[in-house]
Amino acid sequence: MSAILKTDQLRVEFASREFRGATTTALVGLNLEVQAGEVYGFLGPNGAGKTTTINALLGFVPPTSGTAHLFGIDVRQPIARQRIGYLPELTYYYKFLTAEELLRFYARIFGLSRAESSRRIEKLLKLVELEPVRNRPIKSYSKGMQQRVGLAQALINDPDLLILDEPTSGLDPLGRMKVREIIRRLKDEGKTVFFSSHELGEVETVCDRVAIIHRGELKASGRVADIVQPRHHNLEHAFLEIIGYPIPS
């Protein structure tokens, strides 16, 4: 197997908003390696650096030092994003467009032909169960529906790697179940999924491997069983122990 997502000593610093010249370190020499075909969970408490890692992987935030590669291509090159799909934590799309128009726009961005776009749009609207409302403006959708549009746009180019930033955040149990189902289906199709989450139960059920990050540092990584077993607990206890939180007896 080959690593299709790799970071090497990735460090990200931001200029402090309070003090001129001071910096805040968001990531400290992060090393990650995600193999093709696996579902990789990226865990950490709020402010741990999960979203910053994803932002650096997508080129939104330039690394202070270190490197990040997708499919062996430096993430600073737009071509590195040709074979990925991305679902942001909070869904923000062009609200004046309908779901179908939004998907067609992104299909054009990927340079898909008209016939190919139509075929993909049909398939995806069916997958995310938005067919009946395909011609309604996105602004009229509920949060769950917007999340599903987000998932559809992330899949428009039939990506080999899917990067999901807390994909079930704010969804009701039914919505979460649907997202989990879609992730499993993608895994069965041989896609690689990299997702950040707070939902440890969800991670335990769908992930092959996980990484735990705290204060910008990688604290643990490996198969879920390998992380849980030495600690004789479930993933939640193992997670709390790893980040140094006192576990209630």
Binding site: Y92, Y93, I109
Partner: protein, 260 residues
């Protein structure tokens, strides 16, 4: 190119679906048509005043549309966070800028065509003649000039975060260039050094938007400018728009966009 046109099309769709765009458009159309339908004091030469008023209105309206439309493009994308879904695709920031420029320029070109169609109907119904060559030259020159204004507004929008402040600053700047710009060389002569040198530098640095203004030729039925002059003005306009877009790209390409 596909990416650029997809982005330009998105900009056009947004403008088409935004209701505030229509207010200015309808207002200009109504004033143009109303002005054309009156005939004060049975003065046959009244049509000159009508033409002057209509062309001034078209200039102000299209300048407003250009500045307001272009100034909000990038800040609105960042504010609505749609930029993150977009840049997660294989799109460069340069393509985003160019696509936005193209969309705004095409939108303003369509508005110009509509305005001049009203203008041609109003003046043609009075004068019973249709100087199409002159109109085409006026439309083209104004469109090139608006290209400079759009590029300048996009540059401003990279540095000033809020769309409203960018619009205001850009409109004041454009108004200053149109009204004061042509006279800066005369002003410079009356200044002591080093103010004179500074004023001259500003005079030679700013784009001279007045060179694209052929309103008087249409109003007083003067001869149209030579096509070579139109071509030269187009090159001048393209050069300025290019420089502004380049500066905007230099600012935008390294801008940290942290959605967290």
């Amino acid at each position: 190119m596909k990416t650029l046109f997809a982005l330009a099309r998105l900009t056009l769709t947004e403008l088409y679906r935004r209701k505030d765009f229509y207010v200015l458009f309808i207002l200009t159309a109504v004033v143009t048509l109303a002005a054309g339908s009156v005939n004060f004091f049975n003065d046959e030469k009244i049509i000159r005043y009508v033409k002057d008023l209509c062309l001034l209105l078209i200039w102000i309206s299209t300048l407003l549309i250009s500045v307001v439309t272009a100034a909000r493009q990038i800040p609105a994308e960042c504010e609505a966070r749609t930029i993150f879904s977009l840049l997660a695709k294989p799109v460069t920031r340069g393509q985003v800028l160019l696509g936005k420029f193209l969309g705004c320029w095409l939108a303003v070109g369509l508005a110009l065509l509509m305005f001049y169609a009203f203008f041609a109907i109003v003046t043609g119904s009075h004068e019973h003649r249709w100087p199409l060559g002159g109109y085409l030259q006026a439309i083209w020159l104004q469109w090139v000039m608006l290209g400079i204004v759009i590029a300048m507004s996009l540059l401003g929008s990279i540095h000033f975060a809020a769309p409203s402040s960018t619009s205001t600053i850009c409109f004041v700047l454009v108004a200053g260039i149109v009204v004061v710009g042509p006279h800066l060389n005369t002003v410079a002569l009356q200044q002591p050094q080093p103010l004179q040198a500074i004023t001259y530098t500003v005079y030679f640095l700013i784009p001279h938007l007045e060179w694209f203004d052929v309103r008087d030729r249409l109003v007083y039925d003067w001869a149209s400018p030579a096509w070579q002059d139109i071509a030269l003005a187009s090159v001048y306009g393209a050069a300025y728009a290019g420089v502004f877009l380049l500066l905007a790209w230099l600012g935008f390409r390294r801008k940290s966009l942290n959605p967290g």
